[in-house]
């Protein structure tokens, strides 16, 4: 799949290059140092690429959750004002599908990525990386995905198997 895609992209790239001549480009991009890239790059891939150092467990994450998440997401990740994070297992084929982290999300890395970049809503970026690992572990623990004392870090998080992982298909074909 990706081999053919690479060919398609190469062809497109050549076509594009023909349309926009090199002479038309003022070449004003400035070089970026590796140090500056680290600051702006929050991308975390499903294989774990981009995950920062640090670690945490659900046991540690319970307090992080109480302090930062409870007001919007409710005790135990349920019955909050905003998105339900826990439960809904087995509900996706019923008349009332409940798409939670545990019942729906295909990748554990996505949970870390989202908390890391966007949560808590009122103060994104205020949690340490250890706290993000810990609260990620706590939400996964509430969904019976990891054990209470399982340590999540850059090595272990990508290996966490989400329950609904196999129930996604790609509608987009790179060809």
């Amino acid at each position: 799949m990706f081999t053919r895609n690479a060919m398609a992209v190469s062809v497109l790239y050549l076509l594009t290059a023909q349309i926009v001549m090199a002479d038309d480009n003022p070449q004003l991009g400035e070089n970026v140092s590796q140090a500056d890239l680290v600051v702006v790059d929050y991308t975390i891939m499903p294989n774990g690429e981009g995950l920062p150092d640090g670690s945490g467990t659900a046991a540690e994450g319970a307090k992080v959750y109480q302090d930062n998440c409870l007001a919007c997401h409710g005790a135990g990740g349920k019955d909050g004002l905003n998105d339900v994070l826990v439960g809904g297992h087995g509900s996706l084929t019923t008349d009332r599908p409940q798409k939670t982290v545990g019942s729906y999300w295909p990748y554990a890395t996505t949970l870390f990525d989202y908390v890391h970049r966007a949560m808590p809503y009122q103060a994104p970026g205020s949690l340490s990386d250890d706290d993000v690992y810990a609260v990620t572990a706590y939400i996964l623990y509430l969904n019976d995905v990891v054990d209470e004392n399982e340590q999540l870090d850059a090595d272990t998080l990508p290996d966490v198997r989400m329950p609904n992982r196999d129930n996604f298909v790609w509608a987009y074909s790179p060809d």
Partner: protein, 417 residues
């Protein structure tokens, strides 16, 4: 009134699409003679008018022309949407102040001097671009629609909700978008052979991020700097946004800050947990990018009151992520018969197209519909077809036919037909 030979085109009073063209000459002459006979002046013709000003505003009589159905997640003010008042607009350009909004953590107050777009990842040279730098590149501009893939979600309701056209369908707008082709910037950074996707992220507090296949990026993606001739409005990504013609709006990341070239999608929250389409068998589709062929009658529609029986214009908008709208058909008898609507002159790719039909309303109950066909041959489906196979509540990419019921008292209701 001149004799008009434009006969009926379909049932229940739908007239030939050339009706208004034929009627124009006669009514224009009548208007001129009435003005010439006017003896007195209205108040605004007796004194000089208001002075020039640095920035314009709509007439005070149009104060109702505002975005509608503004809602945000509980406990937030900037995690939600506002909608374009479609039924109060004509033509295809959405005034910038009325462009719909969908934000995930409010509108950031970005200092354009400090803002940078950084392109990195699987590139030969990671580069940073200031607004001043991008402003020196050759720009292109195109008039195109932007639609949130959650648009029209209210149409999932088991019973038709009695809301206005904008409250149901107002997460679509069209603008002239001007900016720098992203392919030009990627030519400058170079792309390593393993690069297949980009991950675009914004400078909002949520750093909203989406993965986009590189072939789309190289095809027609731009870094938009301008909207309808002026710099982007803050609510539309000032000072720069990604713009991906025809694809679900969420991917056109506003306040664009980073583009990372990668070998696979990042599976961000907004492409897995959200903006994915759950089917009734429990399997969900990822990456349903293009917006489907769609149309909606904006007038008459719910909230607009019909007057006496007689000639009316049925008008609406049609669009498709697949290219140009080829045809819009209108029915005034609940879909039993259809007639081609007239399309306004400007039929552009991945843009709104305005359609119009003349209708002789007999004052009785009538159900009016529109159905669009695009140049790829896609025909707008019925609601039943759209919902077939979907999980309950799966609302993204709803493009079903909208039906409005005109009642004898002139009210217009949302119905399923």
């Amino acid at each position: 009134m001149a004799d008009r030979d434009a006969g009926p085109a379909a049932g229940n009073g739908l007239l030939d699409r050339r009706f208004f063209l034929k009627a124009g000459a006669a009514s224009g002459a009548a208007l001129l003679s009435a003005q010439a006979c006017s003896a007195d002046r209205p108040p605004w013709m007796r004194v000089p008018g208001a002075p020039m000003s640095e920035s314009g505003a709509p007439s005070e009589h149009e104060a109702h022309l505002q975005r509608t159905a503004i809602g945000s997640q509980p406990g937030t003010t900037g995690a939600g949407a506002s909608r374009t008042p479609l039924e109060l607009l004509d033509g295809i350009i959405t005034p910038s102040r009325l462009h719909f909004e969908r934000h995930h953590s409010g509108i950031p107050a970005i200092d354009p001097e400090e803002h940078r777009l950084v392109i990195h990842g699987l590139v030969e040279r990671p580069l940073s671009f200031s607004l001043a730098a991008l402003s020196r590149y050759q720009t292109i501009s195109r008039i195109q629609f932007l639609e949130c893939s959650g648009n029209s979600g209210a149409s999932l309701s088991a019973e038709p909700v009695q809301r206005s056209c904008s409250q149901i369908h107002g997460l679509v707008s069209a603008s002239e978008w001007g900016g720098v082709p992203l392919s030009v910037l990627l030519q400058e950074t170079g792309i390593k052979p393993e690069g297949k996707w980009i991950v675009a992220a914004g400078a909002d507090a949520a750093m909203m991020s989406r993965s986009v296949p590189l072939d789309k990026v190289l095809d027609d993606a731009i870094i938009a700097l301008y909207q309808n001739g002026e710099r982007l409005r803050p609510a539309n990504g000032y000072p720069m946004r990604l713009f991906l013609p025809g694809w679900e709006g969420n991917m056109s990341v506003k306040w664009l800050r980073t583009i990372k070239v990668v070998d696979q999608p990042a599976m961000t929250k907004d492409e897995t947990s959200k903006y994915s389409d759950l089917q009734d068998d429990g399997v969900a589709k990822l990456f349903t990018f293009p917006m489907g062929v769609k149309s909606v009658i904006t007038s008459p529609s719910h909230g607009l009151q019909m007057g006496a029986s007689g000639i009316y214009q049925i008008s609406g908008i049609a669009w498709t992520g697949a290219g140009k709208i080829k045809r819009v058909e209108v029915s005034a008898d609940g879909g039993k018969s259809w007639a081609d609507a007239a399309l306004d002159e400007h039929v552009m790719s991945k843009c709104l197209t305005r359609f119009r039909s003349a209708w002789r309303w007999d004052g009785g109950p009538a159900v009016i519909l529109s159905r669009a066909t695009d140049e790829a041959g896609n025909i707008q489906p019925t609601r039943d077809v759209v919902l077939d196979g979907r999980a309950n509540g799966a609302f993204y990419h709803y493009n079903g036919i909208q039906a409005w019921q005109v009642r004898s008292n002139g009210e217009v209701n949302n119905v399923y037909a």
